[in-house]
Every structure is written in C-alpha cells, then in structure tokens.
C-alpha cells in the first residue's frame, strides 16, 4: 500500500484514517531506511581506504542485532545523522572530544548489546563516550563503583525527554534552536520541563487523540535546549522549536523551563514539529515535495518571513493540524484557565489568518519547475476548507443604519 498526499491530509483531519495512514507510512519508512543506509555506507567505504574497517565494524555489529533492535537503531538520529553527513561530526562527547557520525552510528549499534555489568570490550569502545540507547530512552552513567543504567524520563509514555545527551548539547550555527549555546538544566528545572511537556501532550490527547497518536508514531525523542537563565529577558526567538530531518524523529524545543513557554505553547510546538517529522518520513519514502532551493523564496502568509518553497508546503499541513488542535481546545475549554484560553483563541485566529488570504496558496510558490499537481490540489483544498469555515462567520459588509 502506498501513502498518497491526500492520505497525509486525511490522517490529520479524520481520526478514522490516522492509524492506517501512520502505520503504512512508518512501515514504508522502515523498509526504505536500511536500503538508504546501506547505500550511504557503501559510498562512504569506497571513498577512503581507512573507511573500510569502520564500515565493516558497524556491519558486523548490525548483523548481530535482533529485528527489534535493528528497528530501534534505524529509527534513531544516528542513522539519519550519518546519512546526512557521512564524513562529518555528530556531536561532542562529555569530555569535549568530537564524535564522528560513523562512530556515533557504531556506538549506538553496540549500545543495543549492553548488559550490566558492561563487558570489557564495550567498556573500551565507549570509554568516556557516553553510552546511550539509540533512541535515547536510557543512558549508562559511570560511577566510581562501575556503571549505572539510568532511564530517561518519557513524555506521553513513549517519547524520550533528552536534555543532556551529546545531541542535546550540539552546536549548530545554522539552526534556529541549537545556535544558542547549551546551558545545563538543573534537576528542579527538569521536573518542571517534564510536567509541562506531559501536560502539553495531555492537551493534545484530550482534544485530538488521533494527533496524539501521530505524534507518538513520528516523534521518538524531544530535545530541550535551555538558552536563557530564569532571570533573563525573553524574546519570541527564545521560545522557538524546530525539526531537522538530519535527526529523524527528534524534535527540539527551547526553554521549556521558562514560565513564558506555557503548556498550550508546548502542545503547539510538539504538534508543529511532529507534523514536520511525519511529512519528512513521507518525503524519505516518496521523494521531496519540491526543491529546497533558497535563491528565490515566497513570503509566508503566517509570519511574513521569506521561507523556502519546501517549507511553505510543510507549513500548510502543520497549520492545518494546529488549527484542528486549537479549534477543539478553544471549544471544549479543557480546564486550561482564562489566560491560556484567550491566548489559544488569538493563536487560532493567527493560524486561520494565514489561510484566509485572497490568493490561493498554490500561487505563492516560486519554483523553477512546476510543483506536483496532487500536492497543489491538497494545499488549495486545505486552504479552501478553512477559508469557507471563516467566510461563513465573515459577515458580508453592511451599511450602518440611519438612526
């Protein structure tokens, strides 16, 4: 079975379709990923003689993994990170040494073998490298007396909350979230973050349980970056979130410890980035929506910012999902308090405002070659659906009565 662009839309709007669409897409993604990885490994091996041993070591380990462990590894950011930049650096280990992407991939595969007490060979390989499971649900911490396996907190029952791994500390100048230097998060702050994210996913589950399922299918780890201290001034840029396909299944959220990052904003951020992850999985399987070229860029009708064509296509689905979530939350009240209710109504109108423009969104794209007609049809249908909803509420202008 094949996922169509129409299915992508249906899974967001029709709770009866979400399970089917998500499971078919995830299966297809898990089928295509090992093939892609194998191609990337073989290109990497052929590039330099010294790469040969590294690839063989990884493959030897990978072959010994059982099917479940393989799936965990394939769904991890170490696979997508390697494929994105096979010669690159993945992150820094706790001692500040660079870990290459192939090394990180191998470490993640060997972590699937670990049993306590850690054996000598593994100990040597992982010395100081910070051992953790591929999906980040647990981490081995070294003590004077040996190693301790520590389970990371989970959000929504399955999403690992990661505030301290090499990945969570990574510096990325081109990123909107990870360009901010890492600040360590105290245990008190971690409790606040965990409670807030848990409440946020609770809001999604209450209003749109099918989107809660979609989130859990395509998001496996939430990376929280603290970039400002409790007393610092906050700007909207400090309350951002991001998804980068280089780390498949990992969403990033900034400064959840701050009161300004409210539960409703967290719910929106989790859904927003998870939809990106969902769409990226589709693109991995069926090809990119369109070119990511950035030389000429349309203007987002939501933010007024110049965004790549490809991001505009994603934005339509993202805001469609958020419109569903906020629309229902505003209707049911959800016991979130007056302030949050008012904030969500404003956000809902902001999201709807981006759709309620005179032009069809499909005409905003500025492309070298024509976009897929199916994609453009779905983009216009989504816009039309929301526009119709609001135009019924939009009174035709009337003349003021003379008193």
């Amino acid at each position: 079975m094949r996922t169509s662009i129409e299915d992508l839309r249906r899974a967001i709007e029709d709770p009866h379709r979400t399970v089917d669409v998500c499971s078919v897409l995830l299966d297809a993604w898990l089928e295509v990923t090992p093939r892609r990885l194998s191609e990337a490994l073989s290109r990497f091996r052929d590039k330099r003689i010294e790469n040969q041993g590294r690839v063989e070591n990884f493959e030897k380990t990978f072959k010994q993994l059982d099917p479940a462990a393989r799936r965990r590894l394939l769904g991890s950011p170490w696979v997508s990170g390697f494929m994105d930049d096979p010669d690159g650096v993945s992150h820094e280990d706790p001692d500040g040494r660079s870990v290459s992407t192939i090394e990180a991939l191998h470490l993640a595969a060997t972590a699937e073998f670990l049993v306590a007490p850690i054996n000598d060979e593994m100990g040597k390989l992982h010395q100081g490298r910070g051992v953790e499971s591929p999906l980040g649900e647990w981490v081995l911490r070294r003590h004077e007396s040996g190693f301790e396996k520590v389970e990371r907190a989970k959000v929504g029952g399955v999403i690992a909350l990661d505030v301290d791994s090499g990945l969570a500390r990574r510096n990325e100048p081109e990123s909107g979230t990870f360009c901010n230097p890492f600040m360590s998060i105290s245990s008190e702050e971690l409790v606040v973050i965990q409670e807030k994210l848990e409440a946020a996913i609770g809001l999604v589950d209450e209003a749109t349980p099918h989107l809660g399922l979609l989130i859990r299918t395509f998001t496996r780890r939430v990376l929280v970056r603290k970039s400002i201290q409790p007393g610092d001034q906050v700007s909207p840029l400090n309350l951002g979130s991001e998804y980068r396909p280089i780390h498949a299944g990992c969403i990033r959220i900034l400064n959840v410890h701050r009161p300004e990052m409210t539960v409703d904003l967290c719910a929106e951020a989790i859904l927003h980035e998870s939809i990106h992850s969902y769409l990226s999985a589709y693109e991995e399987v069926h090809g990119k929506f369109m070119s990511g070229a950035i030389r000429v860029r349309p203007v987002s009708p939501w933010s007024g910012n110049f965004i790549p064509n490809h991001s505009l296509a994603h934005a339509v689905f993202v805001y469609y999902a958020i419109h569903q979530l906020l629309g229902i939350l505003v209707d049911i009240g959800a016991g979130i308090g007056e302030e949050a209710g008012k904030r969500m109504k404003r956000r809902l109108m902001h999201v709807a405002g981006g759709f309620c423009i005179e032009r069809k969104i499909s005409t905003l794209f500025v492309l070298e070659s024509p976009a897929s007609p199916q994609l453009m049809a779905v983009v216009n249908e989504i816009q039309e659906k929301i526009r119709t909803e609001y135009s019924q509420r939009m009174p035709k202008y009337k003349l003021e009565n003379v008193a």
Binding site: I357, E358, R359, K396
Partner: protein, 272 residues
C-alpha cells in the same frame, strides 16, 4: 463613459489622491474613514460596517491604495487585539467584492502580487518576456550571508525597495543581517514607464536614450497581469538596445512630477 472611481488611500500625502482629489466622478477616502465603524473584537473575524457617508463602492473602479496598515487606525486596533493583519485585508476584500475593478491585489506585502520581493518579480517577469535581462543577485538565508563572489559592482538593497539603485543604503536596520540581499547595479540609462491601464508615459531621469517604444506595451501588459496592478511604475535600464527590468512599483511616486501625470491617471480609468 468612464466608471465612477474611488481612491482609498492610507497616506495623507498620497500623490494619486492629491492629483485626482478635485476631479469630477472621482471620490477620495482615507482608509481611517472607511474603517471607522468596522467592528474589531478579540479573536473574531472583523465585521466591516460601512457608514452611509461612504460613496457606493459597488460597480466603481477602486484604486485600492492600501499597502501599509501600521500607521492607520485599523492597524492600531488590530495590534490591540493581537489580530493578524490578513483579517483587515480579508474584510477589505469583502467590502470591495462588488466593485467593477480594482487597481491592485489585496493583501499585505509578499502576499498581494502588487507587492512582491524584487527577486520574485525578476523571476516572474523574465519567465514571461524573452530576452529581457534582470539584475544578478545573491540572497542570504536568515543570518547566513550569501556567496557574492559572482557579483560585480553590487550594492546591498532591501528586497522591498523598488526604486533606489544609486548605491545609497535603503536597507532597514533589521534587514542588514536578516535575509541579506545583494544586487549588481544595472548598467545603461534608466527609463521609468508610468502606466495606468494601457496608457503609459516614459520619463528619463538621467538623459535621453534612443528608445524603441515597441517594447513597452508588452512590458506594461506583463506587469499589469503578473503583479496584479492596473497602475504602476516600471524601472528599466537600457544598454546597447537591451533592457534590464529592475522593478515594477505600485507606489506611483513619480507621477506627480510627470507633466501629463493627471491625464495618464484619468486615461487609465476603465470605461463602463
């Protein structure tokens, strides 16, 4: 017979409003006057109530001179309610839905085709008119600087500034480092083509080249359609008989200085 015409403007010093203010059959309304009774509420769609004193917009030709809301009264009310400015444009759209014709597209800059970023204009126009040149440019992404090694004699410009090409900085402070835009200065002699409907007039800010007038009707027609602007000013540079298209501006900033400016504006009003 010419269609009754209404100019809706948002700038007290608006050139088109000033030129047409005393013409019979033309009404001029400031946006604040039009929107005075509009009902703007917290998180609600705007209800555009029109006062009786507003001339009938129905079946009129509207020169919808509404590009910027930040200094208008409706803009203030939107901000007070945290309402997206698209909602004011949507309300305006519903008010103007029964007009005979509109001079410009509706919406904020970048969304309305009448106000596109320069590089989008170049892409669209060069796809329409074969043989016309457009400036070489480099466009950064966010804080990332673009590769400018292929550019000669370039300036940093605002991607929204249509008519300043002399190298003086027209870049707003927030644009210096954010999506930085660099453009090669066009070579040759500048020609400004002011148009309304099919009527056009040329002016030459820096000397008189020998001009092939035959190129302009096609250029005007392309700009009218691509940039959803029944009136505008096109800036081209001519060198060795080749035209470089620099911009199409809806602002009509130079029409006041044109000897035949008022006539040009009137000739472009559609007939009934």
């Amino acid at each position: 017979m010419k269609t009754p015409t209404i100019v809706i403007h948002s700038d007290p010093e608006d050139v088109v409003a000033a030129l047409l203010g005393d013409v019979q059959g033309v009404s001029v309304i400031h946006l604040d006057e039009l929107t005075r009774s509009w009902c703007v509420r917290e998180a609600e769609v705007i209800e555009p109530v029109l006062e009786q004193s507003i001339p009938s917009l129905c079946s009129a030709y509207i020169i919808n001179w509404v590009f910027e809301l930040s200094r208008t009264e409706i803009g203030l009310r939107l901000r007070a309610f945290g309402l997206h400015e698209n909602w004011a444009h949507a309300a305006l759209g519903s008010v103007l839905a029964r007009a005979h014709a509109l001079a410009h597209g509706i919406g904020p800059r970048g969304v309305s085709r009448s106000l596109l970023p320069l590089n989008v204009q170049w892409k669209l126009l060069s796809g329409r008119i074969p043989g016309i040149k457009t400036p070489q440019f480099a466009f950064g992404f966010g804080h990332r600087m673009p590769d400018i090694s292929h550019l000669e004699k370039f300036v940093q410009k605002s991607v929204w500034s249509y008519f300043r090409w002399n190298g003086d900085s027209d870049v707003a402070e927030d644009e210096q480092q954010w999506h930085p835009f660099f453009v090669e200065q066009p070579q040759g002699i500048p020609i400004v083509c002011s148009y309304h409907g099919e009527a056009f007039a040329l002016s030459f800010p820096r000397g008189w080249p020998e001009v092939d007038l035959g190129a302009f009707p096609g250029l005007v027609s392309a700009c009218r359609e691509l940039f959803d602007s029944r009136m505008g000013e096109i800036l081209v540079y001519q060198e060795d008989e080749i035209l470089t298209f620099c911009a199409c501006s809806p602002y009509m900033a130079g029409v006041g200085e044109l000897r035949e400016g008022k006539q040009l504006l009137l000739r472009g009003v559609p007939s009934n």
